[in-house]
């Protein structure tokens, strides 16, 4: 087949009806633009929402859970070894809340190549004392550097310096919601009451805002040392070890391994936050469906225009066949017309899509819930561009397929004799 010749014929037909062709191409351009914009925007939003959780959630959390002992006297007894025993109203035994042997666990984790980083934490319940009332709250004792490195702590501290937490003894970074309730400013002193009823004065060195207002109303951060002091525990006390892995997918397997190895509870991020993954998947699915629908509509436009072109160019097709072009040649001519529209429209759509997403990226987007976000989030993933160009070519090919087949089956005798 002489492609150059066939291409010159398709080009001539295209240019002969350039307005219609342009309309068809604009249809493709529009749908590709919207497809890219939709996916980039939706995916940017997804990443942001996932980031809200994933950035702040350890891939694996090691902790000690208070629960009833699995080994009761009855089950250990030789005498009732072959019997089935029922014990009602078993209560958890009094146990320390901290992890056992935390120092050894940490030094082991530091040698594990799958681990990206670790941050110890003490989580404890307190009351913020405001005048005569107590507000329920919780304090996370953290190591500032480790927390910042793994969980971008700095990003959520909207006022004050995170390192003051470490450098100022007995200091606290209050949740924004809690601070508003207590009407305190940076530098003010607040009083908290621990679970044993002892009162501690703490200096406010900053505010943090997580984006989840329920958390901001109760949560605060102190240094490890301050928290240990509040609880009256030793310097090695910690309730959680937060682990970030190099590969998040490994989390369930590694968590299971650690649970067995260290004899404590270990929960992975996938188990703890499965609902977020579901949400992201559904949102992505919806944007793909909408994008593909747009493309299919554009495909119908191309189908119509090609059909019209075939009716208008019956004579041309007939004479091409009479002078020796085969059905396949005619087919190739119309397929290449369709593909040209698809490729041209698709490439234009990629440019416009990039432009539009860039524009959206510049629109201010300030929300109290998301302190680190200033403009609408956009994900400039080249994957979307590749998918869109592939889709535009595939859709236009199918849109051209039937008209091209029809054109290739035109009987020149019917056309020529009909004159």
């Amino acid at each position: 087949m002489n492609f150059k010749l066939l291409y010159s014929v398709s080009l001539a037909l295209l240019l002969a009806r350039w307005k219609q062709t342009l309309v068809a191409a604009i249809g493709v351009t529009f749908s590709i633009t919207m497809f890219i914009t939709l996916l980039s925007f939706m995916s940017g939003l997804n990443d942001m929402l996932d980031g809200l959780i994933i950035n702040r959630t350890p891939h694996i959390r090691l902790y000690n859970e208070l629960k009833a002992s699995e080994h009761q006297a009855l089950t250990e007894s030789e005498q009732y070894k072959n019997s089935h025993g029922f014990i009602h109203s078993v209560k958890p035994k009094s146990d320390r809340k901290g992890l056992y042997n935390a120092g050894a666990i940490i030094s082991y984790l530091k040698t594990d190549s799958r681990v990206l980083g670790i941050a110890p934490k003490i989580a404890t319940q307190v009351f913020y004392t405001v005048g005569s009332i107590d507000l329920a709250g919780s304090i996370n004792g953290i190591e500032v550097e480790a927390e910042n490195k793994l969980f971008y702590f700095q990003d959520y501290v909207v006022a004050g310096n995170i390192f003051d937490l470490k450098n100022t003894p007995n200091s606290i970074i209050l949740g924004k919601g809690a601070a508003e309730k207590m009407m305190v400013q940076i530098g003010d002193m607040i009083q908290i009451t621990n679970n044993k009823g002892e009162i501690f004065p703490l200096k406010v060195v900053g505010f943090f805002q997580s984006g989840l207002s329920e958390i901001d109303k109760v949560q605060s951060y102190c240094s490890m040392e301050t928290t240990q002091k509040i609880l009256g525990e030793s310097g090695s006390f910690m309730t959680d070890i937060q682990v970030k892995l190099t590969r998040i997918e490994d989390a369930p397997a590694v968590a299971k391994y650690y649970q067995h190895l260290f004899g404590c509870e270990a929960i992975d991020i996938q188990t703890a936050n499965s609902q977020f993954e579901t949400g992201s998947t559904v949102r992505t699915l919806i944007s793909y469906v909408v994008g593909i629908t747009l493309l299919v509509v554009a495909g119908f436009g191309i189908y119509n225009i090609l059909n019209m072109m075939i009716y208008e160019k019956m004579d041309t097709i007939a004479i091409l066949k009479a002078t020796g072009f085969s059905g396949n040649d005619v087919n190739a001519v119309f397929i290449s017309i369709a593909l040209s529209i698809g490729i041209f429209g698709g490439i234009m759509g990629m440019f416009f899509g990039f432009g539009l997403t860039h524009l959206i990226d510049m629109i201010p987007f300030n929300t109290a819930a998301l302190p680190t976000i200033t403009t609408y989030p956009i994900n400039y993933n080249p994957k979307f561009y590749i998918i869109s160009i592939v889709f535009s070519i595939v859709t236009t090919y199918f849109a051209g397929f039937l008209p091209a087949r029809k054109a290739s089956r035109i009987d020149p005798v019917v056309i020529i004799r009909g004159k």
């Binding site: 010749l5 001539a12 037909l13 009479a322 002078t323 020796g324 085969s326 009987d411």
Partner: protein
């Protein structure tokens, strides 16, 4: 005796719509190289139908057709396209030039399709053909800028581009006035005399037919005289 270039053996054709009618009844004849043949007959006698069968465009017939010694039956669609491209030149009542292309490009298209010569050679040959027909000055115009007679001459040039063994015409002067008819007829005569081009022209113009070397007269789907 010169070489037989086209042979029809008992060609039979039916139209089925609305009722089955036998349009061509066992037509058999041969055409030798260099002959100038005209087919005449009343409207509806089947002469055009016969021509479209001979041109390989219509494949729905009984009987056998040989062009240049090859049997056209059992040939695939693209093989027949190749035969039309290489061996047959066709001129219709209407010129069927493509307005999207220049006159030169129109003439070149079948040549480019054949792919026997390079593009430059095809262009050169197309200009030669246009010169024979006296319209080489119009080569770069678009067909819609030409007069009816000129268009028909371009169509003849296009039919000749691949040096076909036979040039077929379906009332090629049917749309032309007297003067242009004469011009086209003179061209055919010149092609026949000087270039030994075989021609098969369907016409209802008896004046025209009389000047050809062989007249086949048809009536009611049969050949009634051949002289």
């Amino acid at each position: 005796m010169s070489k037989v270039i086209l042979e029809a053996k008992s060609i039979q054709k039916f139209f089925h719509d609305p009722t089955t009618v036998e349009v061509l009844k066992q037509i058999s004849f041969t055409i030798n190289a260099g002959e100038f043949v005209s087919v005449i007959g009343k409207s509806g006698c089947g002469k055009s139908t016969l021509l479209y069968i001979l041109s390989t465009m219509d494949t729905d017939y009984n009987g056998e057709l040989f062009i240049d010694g090859q049997n056209m039956r059992n040939k695939k669609e693209y093989e027949l396209a190749r035969v039309r491209n290489e061996l047959i030149g066709f001129v219709f009542q209407f010129h069927y030039l493509l307005n999207e292309f220049t006159v030169l490009r129109n003439v070149m298209l079948p040549g480019l399709k054949l792919g026997k010569y390079s593009e430059q050679e095809v262009e050169h040959r197309a200009l030669e053909k246009l010169k024979i027909l006296g319209i080489d000055n119009e080569a770069l115009k678009k067909p819609n800028q030409l007069s009816g007679g000129q268009k028909q001459r371009v169509a003849i040039a296009r039919a000749l581009i691949n040096d076909p063994i036979i040039l077929m015409g379906d009332e090629p002067t049917g749309n032309l006035d007297k003067r242009n008819t004469d011009v086209v007829f003179d061209i055919f005569k010149e092609l026949s005399a000087e270039y030994k081009q075989s021609l098969l022209i369907v016409t209802h113009d008896n004046e025209f037919a009389k000047q050809t070397s062989r007249i086949i007269e048809m009536s009611d789907g049969k050949i009634i005289s051949d002289k």
